[in-house]
Subunit: 310 residues, 2 copies
């Protein structure tokens, strides 16, 4: 913890400990997994597909596989060469769709240019789409009809919010900064489902500081380092920082870098009542929720209810 932001000490905000919350969620998943296996003999199975040799993707895929192993899941990784054809990719997805030992399929993005990402996502059976990117799952999340697979990072944000603010977020003003399909839009849906008054702000928003200043809950997911400043935050607000930006850190030595979020942490911590740090906030939640979705997919495949983890 030597790298914890020292300035948080001078602020009033509680730091939301994503590592601790994520560890609790993982414990709960381990418990529910043992129960599932004891009662049915079924072990959740996750297949991760990686195309090419992008180093960042390899790190992510490795971490996902290790967490699945740790939980005793069936865990398989398919690594395909960078010049894999779309046809070969769709064939593999088809095999995984038909494999009863595999409950969750995750295709690591980005994909090389010759493969149409949307075609691959739509080829995954919606009930095995543990990333929650299939249009059927996006539609179910939006309409509330049927059991949706919810994207991992937004679902993780919601667990952190409930852990901080309690189960009833109804009537709170939430401002989501950023409208990506990965985070901004689904997190807005989830906040709306919790009865927040939800505003989605973005690059075309006219007076972004004023809009953010309305928020009891701020979710920042734009991918711009420390863009959200302290004086944008309403005193007492809860701030969830989804951004992960690597910046030079000459104070750590030549060529060294460090991670910062989309929120200027020290400034915001002096105003907010609670805030997630980067790293150690939202990040650790994402992998935990991927495991939760895989367990959920296994349960739903057996007609069992989705286990409560939040």
């Amino acid at each position: 913890m030597a790298n914890a932001p020292s300035s948080s000490a001078s602020g009033i905000a509680a730091t939301i400990d994503g590592r601790a919350v994520s560890a609790r969620v993982i414990e709960r998943i381990a418990f529910e997994t043992r129960r599932l296996t004891d009662e049915t003999g079924v072990v959740p199975g996750l297949a991760v597909v990686l195309v090419g040799d992008d180093p960042a993707s390899q790190v992510y895929v490795g971490a996902k596989g290790r967490k699945a192993d740790e939980l005793g899941f069936v865990s398989v990784q398919h690594t395909l060469p960078a010049d894999t054809s779309e046809e070969a990719m769709l064939r593999l997805v088809g095999e995984l769709n038909d494999d009863p030992a595999i409950h969750g399929i995750l295709v690591q993005l980005p994909l090389p240019a010759q493969i149409d990402k949307n075609r691959v996502i739509e080829a995954i059976r919606p009930e095995k789409d543990v990333d929650g990117f299939h249009p059927i799952n996006v539609g179910r999340l939006a309409s509330g009809a049927g059991e949706a697979m919810v994207p991992c990072t937004p679902a993780g944000c919601m667990i952190l919010l409930r852990d901080t603010l309690g189960d009833d977020l109804g009537g709170l003003e939430a401002v989501v900064v950023g409208r990506s399909n990965l985070v901004g839009k689904p997190v807005a849906q989830l906040l709306l489902n919790e009865n927040c008054t939800v505003t989605i702000a973005h690059s075309r928003t006219r007076d972004l500081p004023a809009v953010v200043r309305r928020a009891d809950i701020v979710v920042a997911a734009v991918g711009r380092q420390e863009m959200v400043r302290g004086d944008w935050i309403k005193p007492g607000a809860t701030v969830i920082d989804v951004g992960v930006n690597r910046i030079p850190a000459p104070e750590k030595g030549e060529g060294k870098t460090r991670l910062v979020g989309d929120v200027a942490f020290a400034e915001a911590a002096a105003v907010a009542s609670a805030i997630t740090p980067v790293p150690g906030g939202v990040g650790p939640m994402t992998i935990a929720l991927l495991m939760a979705n895989t367990l959920k997919a296994a349960c739903l495949s057996l007609g069992r209810p989705s286990p409560k983890l939040g």
Copy 2:
């Protein structure tokens, strides 16, 4: 026009004439339909399915069929008894899915209790789902991936807005009051796609008047008569009233009724710069957009681009 709200004369708002805009859209559909038929021999086909004998549903279905006839579409209506089984309903949907002369399938809601609405909607082939209710279409609208069928009333609201404010709505503050799957949520998606800063407000919103007062664009879709008052409206705002509420009108004689929207028209017209009346605002757009979706479905089935109608 004898029933036009007389108090609008004292206000400053322009009345947005949905009947006139809808007539222009219908003209454009007629033109594009002739072109499609001239070039390909294909005539757009719409099948409307009505279960039971609800009088309001019969009126809607009749109006849809007449408009389709007027445009020279292939138009078929299936009327099933109120005790139709879900199985029989799904069989009919399957037949219509496979019928190459039918490009659009509309199942009039509500359905009787023994039929699961969501199961029926999910059974319609997404490219024939001219209501835009299939989760795939909801998901495509939300994610922007693929060609979505957009629900008719929200799409109609957007045409009225562009007709009033011009093509660039970017940066405007839009507040949608109501979060139904039919109107509130999809219209919020469409406003976001037009780069508005979008807030969704609803029954749990804490200070609804203050939230609405922020809006350059107000879309009211709650189904509560004249709930949005004049002093909720920011001077100069554009107000789209989706509500249709029938109330007693003793001034027209005993037992008479009249239609009012979700907005107190006279009050709001004194503050807004433009406002839709009820009736004659959003209402006429819905049927026009249903025809537009049927034409679009016919074009897409041939691999032709979706015609521009807005």
